[in-house]
């Protein structure tokens, strides 16, 4: 189905199932521990052996020798494949660092061997017996030091938020020089780890030349393609199966070492191999969100209207990598006649930087929304009003191109009302409750809505049950449930009559889970397949397809009503289709918006910041399931608190690695850090986005939160911190006297 004109009324608009706050259909399996994650597919292949990855102990250089003799003799060891045994493997299209092969070490904890043994403990023990000799080479590990060598590059996060190397509109320098009120500040964000609960894990099995990977991956079709490319085998010989994913956040968008080394280990051992990366390897072997140094310049007239906006970001990556596209949102969020964005990339020899939840916008908004807060203060304006004053309903660089929907102003107004914003003291450092300095902060939330081709297959059987098959993944987001809701709504059956099968590369290729595009696109693909199935049913019964109604398990036309099971007959009916998008995205800018409000307490003595309450008001098209959408947003808000207050991969700039590479050292918020969260979805349908009229929310909930926290800390203390995370050491020297 080609979607190239705005959606009109369709069966989804009935909202009998769609739009309802239904429990997740996979919930009972997950809460009872019976949903099998990749490492638990014990029945998937017989006689599984265990793999363990040995990772490089240096940041840059060459492996000159590996002595595996003791490891090969160790009890239970079945096979060892070292990086010196195989030439450097081809890279997948989405990979920057090589995953395996050859003597070169590009970054710390790059995989250099896999040991296969009868038990996990034996494999791990034998891996520790491998003696490795290295020739170390100096590396570049300090972004601030390399920033001066950074070069202008185009940015494409792989998740749609692209930006050109340098983008100019109007005369930025002239307008900035002439403005009566201006700001020129630099903000930094650190490297961050996805730190998902389930580490990367795969079971690999070969049958002749055919490889099956039971794995944990967000993007099945990308994974299949890149497995084939990396191992040099035809794609048709590769199958990926990933029905349950224990968190991804972008860390599992791509092929990683777990899948490659499980496959190599299985081939060497002649047995299926099960393998998971260790927690330290998640930090240093896989990808991370790169650190940024962002310079923002804003200029405005005394009336508070922005006249010039510049946002320039520097980040680093391995040679051949890409920049963090932290400036993308600044092209679209606020009005202003003179604009400049720029992306610069420095070469670093740290592990590979790549997409993490809302790549680009997440760190970009952490800077931009603090700059907006600072600018509002310089103008003597309320920060909510300042944002509203500079709202734009058009793409600022293409005034002929409107937003399909843009309710940022409504988000901010409703949020301010519900949060009690009027009670905020505009003068910072004024509100004290016991030991706490209390403050409120606001930020806009912004994340683009991305369109991706997505397919599905739908089968109707003699019992009137519907089965949906698509390689879409559910990474904890609720895909199973909203896809079931879509099929139930389209076919006029109760939710219990729908079975959803996901994550198998033998199923039609979907949009996958990334860039908050999963919900809208994957359900639109199911919609397309269901339209085809309805046509097939009507055609088989001799009904006029346009008049046929699918209600209460029956198909009706005129005075005829046939049970769906009877219509399907013993052979059943199968339909397959995909949603494809036309030119609407060129004519309309599609984005999602939020108002993020945060109240913090800062301990007046110690500088510890603790969240007191949070509110997100979101405008993101039709909300397919308010319950799972809310879960997405509160999870994202929590991630935003982590980014604002504690998350930082600490770089050892001499030795070139992320030092705090476990969950004791890399702190993310725990329950005690998140006392009260509220989410409001504005009533919105967006007929430009898809037949579902929905957009994404999973990353919107993150974008802006960090800025709102930072602004609340400023309101509480009068201390402006421009370097994340805002830990107490950045406040303590400027806090008031104790006692």
């Amino acid at each position: 189905m080609k979607f190239d004109t705005p959606a009109t009324r369709n069966p989804i608009d009935q909202l009998k199932v769609i739009g309802q706050p239904l429990d997740r259909i996979d919930g009972p399996r997950k809460t009872t521990g019976t949903a099998p994650y990749a490492y638990e597919r014990h029945d998937a292949a017989p006689n599984q052996a265990y793999g363990y990855v040995l990772a490089a102990g240096i940041a840059r250089g060459r492996v000159t020798a590996m002595d595996t003799a003791a490891a090969r003799r160790a009890r239970g060891v079945l096979a060892i494949v070292t990086t010196l045994d195989v030439p450097r493997l081809e890279k997948g299209r989405m990979n920057t660092a090589s995953l395996f092969g050859g003597p070169e070490v590009q970054h710390y904890h790059q995989a250099i061997a896999v040991v296969v043994a009868e038990s996990f403990e034996q494999a791990r023990d034998a891996a520790a017996m491998i003696r490795v000799d290295y020739a170390r080479q100096p590396g570049r590990f300090d972004l601030a030091a390399e920033a001066r060598n950074a070069k202008l590059v185009p940015g494409d996060s792989g998740e749609g938020s692209g930006a050109p190397p340098e983008d100019r509109f109007g005369d930025f320098e002239g307008a900035f020089a002439a403005a009566p009120v201006k700001l020129d500040e630099t903000y930094t964000t650190p490297d961050e780890s996805h730190a998902m609960m389930e580490p990367h894990a795969t079971i690999a099995a070969w049958e002749g030349e055919r490889l099956t990977l039971w794995t944990s991956n967000q993007m099945i079709a990308w994974g299949k393609r890149d497995v084939a490319k990396t191992l040099g085998i035809p794609p048709e010989n590769v199958r990926l199966d990933s029905p349950y994913v224990g968190g991804g956040f972008g860390g599992k968008l791509f092929l990683r070492a777990d899948a490659v080394l499980a496959a190599l280990g299985a081939r060497a051992a002649g047995r299926p191999v099960k393998l998971a990366l260790t927690r330290p390897q998640v930090a240093n072997n896989t990808t991370h969100r790169p650190a940024t140094i962002q310079r923002i310049r804003l200029a405005a007239g005394r009336d508070g209207r922005l006249t010039a906006i510049a946002h320039e970001s520097i980040s680093g990556d391995l040679p051949g990598g890409g920049p963090e596209t932290a400036v993308a949102q600044t092209k679209l969020l606020y009005a202003g006649a003179n604009r400049l964005t720029a992306l610069r990339l420095a070469e670093l020899d740290l592990p590979e930087g790549n997409a993490m939840r809302a790549p680009g916008e997440a760190p970009g908004m952490m800077a931009l929304e603090v700059a907006m807060d600072e600018m509002a203060e310089r103008l003597g304006l309320d920060p909510v009003e300042f944002r509203i004053l500079n709202d734009t309903q058009m793409d600022p660089e293409h005034p002929e191109r409107p937003f399909s929907q843009r309710q940022l102003v409504q988000c901010l107004r409703l949020g301010a009302e519900r949060f009690g914003w009027a009670g905020r003291n505009a003068r910072p450092g004024q509100r004290r409750e016991g030991r706490w300095l209390v403050g409120m902060g606001v930020a806009a939330g912004f994340r683009n809505n991305l369109l991706m081709k997505s397919g599905a297959r739908v089968r109707l059987d003699a019992q009137g049950a519907v089965t949906v098959e698509t390689d879409m993944t559910d990474i904890g987001t609720g895909s199973y449930t909203i896809i079931a809701q879509t099929a139930a709504e389209m076919m006029g059956v109760p939710l219990e009559k729908v079975a959803v099968r996901l994550g198998d590369s033998d199923f039609p290729a979907s949009a996958g889970s990334g860039g908050q595009w999963g919900a809208n696109n994957s359900t639109a693909g199911v919609y397309a397949a269901c339209v085809k199935l309805r046509d097939e049913v009507a055609r088989k019964l001799g009904f006029n397809s346009a008049e046929a109604e699918f209600v209460d398990g029956h198909v009706r036309a005129g005075n005829r009503a046939v049970p769906l099971g009877e219509a399907a007959g013993q052979e059943g009916i199968v339909a397959e289709d995909q949603i494809e998008y036309g030119e609407l995205a060129k004519r309309y800018q599609q984005s999602t918006f939020a108002g993020h409000f945060v109240e913090v307490g800062v301990d007046a003595a110690t500088g510890e910041t603790r969240i007191r309450r949070m509110l997100a008001v979101c405008a993101a098209g039709r909300i397919l399931n308010p319950k799972s959408a809310r879960s997405q947003v509160i999870g994202a808000m929590t991630m935003g608190v982590g980014a604002a207050l504690m998350e930082e991969l600490a770089v050892d700039k001499r030795l070139g690695f992320f030092v705090n590479h476990d969950l004791a050292g890399y702190e993310v918020p725990v329950h005690a850090d998140i006392p009260h969260q509220e989410v409001i979805f504005l009533d919105e349908v967006d007929p430009i986005s898809s037949p579902m009229k929905a957009k994404g929310v999973g990353e919107l909930g993150l974008c802006g939160v960090g800025g709102a926290v930072a602004n609340a800390i400023y309101n509480a203390t009068g201390i402006r911190v421009r370097d994340y995370p805002i830990t107490l050491d950045k406040l303590i020297e400027r806090l008031p006297e104790v006692g």
Partner: protein, 316 residues
């Protein structure tokens, strides 16, 4: 994890003897730290002597009016004990500030004292560490040191001790009771139990080879208002940046021990005379000689301000 053999000891002396005669042996109780370290091959015992069955899980009154805490009393039970909560509030609060509920259910009193540093360079076996491998060097010095010691460290090691419980016990003048393989016992004051790193950071306590902790004894209650203020980057389940254990009397005298600043719980009795003059002179005396790094200099300010907040609360 290397293969190891395992036995259950039947008496404390037998446990001590079993470990003494086997240089590769270690005691295991809750295992919350040891097992993690074994998986990483930071600890590589060839033999484990399980002491969980020794019956050392009671808290008893002493003739001196104090409490004798069995070595195997779980952290959860110790924190919840009515006498501890009433008379030794600093200890109960310190315990509850540590780890998580699940870990406290397993972790024992003796094991808590013997837990090893959380220095990330100690935990990464690719990195030089004098504590893990004597003589290999210290890769933390000059590296990422935000969590490291600011006082009492050496050229060989700048690690901190991670315990909260031990900080409170240091403030309470607890003593550690032990038994040796020959059946002889001794009492080691908390002040002497943990060591500064010097040039032997791998030797962390006064225990001799095979010496087994049977109990920790608290002297008679000292009264006063008791505080344990743990400062950390998140609200729970994090190691202290700085912690302050304090017992403050009505007249403003008291005791202070610090966590998160040194290789051992840090207390300077001679500095406590300054408490009546306020946090600044007191902390200046307690941390006299501190040599923080650029990354952890904030701990000095933080310790003073945290003590000030505690003293203010004690007065209020």
């Amino acid at each position: 994890m290397r293969p190891f053999t395992y036995e259950r000891a039947r008496t404390p002396a037998e446990a001590a003897a079993a470990v003494t005669r086997n240089p590769g042996a270690k005691f295991i109780a809750g295992g919350t730290n040891l097992l993690d370290l074994m998986k990483l091959q930071i600890e590589v015992p060839t033999h484990l002597v399980d002491v969980n069955g020794l019956g050392l899980d009671r808290i008893e009154a002493t003739p001196e009016g104090g409490l004798r805490i069995g070595a195997l009393v779980r952290n959860t039970d110790l924190a919840a004990d009515e006498r501890v909560r009433r008379d030794y509030g600093v200890l109960s609060r310190a315990l509850l500030a540590g780890a998580s509920g699940q870990l406290r259910n397993k972790a024992t009193t003796a094991g808590n004292l013997l837990q090893r540093t959380r220095c990330p360079y100690f935990y990464d076996t690719n990195m030089a560490c004098n504590k893990r491998q004597p003589g290999s060097g210290c890769s933390a010095i000059g590296g990422v040191t935000r969590h490291h010691a600011v006082i009492g460290m050496s050229e060989a090691c700048i690690a901190t001790h991670p315990s909260d419980m031990a900080v409170a016990m240091r403030a309470l003048d607890a003593t550690v009771e032990t038994v040796k393989a020959d059946g002889g016992s001794r009492s080691i004051p908390m002040a002497q139990f943990h060591r500064l790193p010097g040039d032997t950071p791998h030797i962390e306590t006064a225990l001799e080879a095979g010496e087994f902790i049977t109990a920790v004894t608290l002297p008679a209650p000292v009264g006063g208002r008791q505080f344990y203020r743990k400062v950390r980057d998140r609200a729970s389940y994090a190691f202290a940046l700085v912690s302050v254990a304090a017992v403050v009397q009505r007249d403003g005298t008291g005791r202070v021990a610090l966590g998160g600043v040194a290789h051992k719980p840090w207390r300077v009795e001679g500095a406590e005379a300054e408490l009546q003059r306020g946090a600044r002179p007191a902390m200046a005396a307690i941390l006299d000689g501190a040599r923080p790094t650029h990354e952890n200099a904030f701990k000095v300010t933080l310790a003073e301000r945290t003590l000030a907040a505690v003293l203010s609360e004690a007065r209020g």
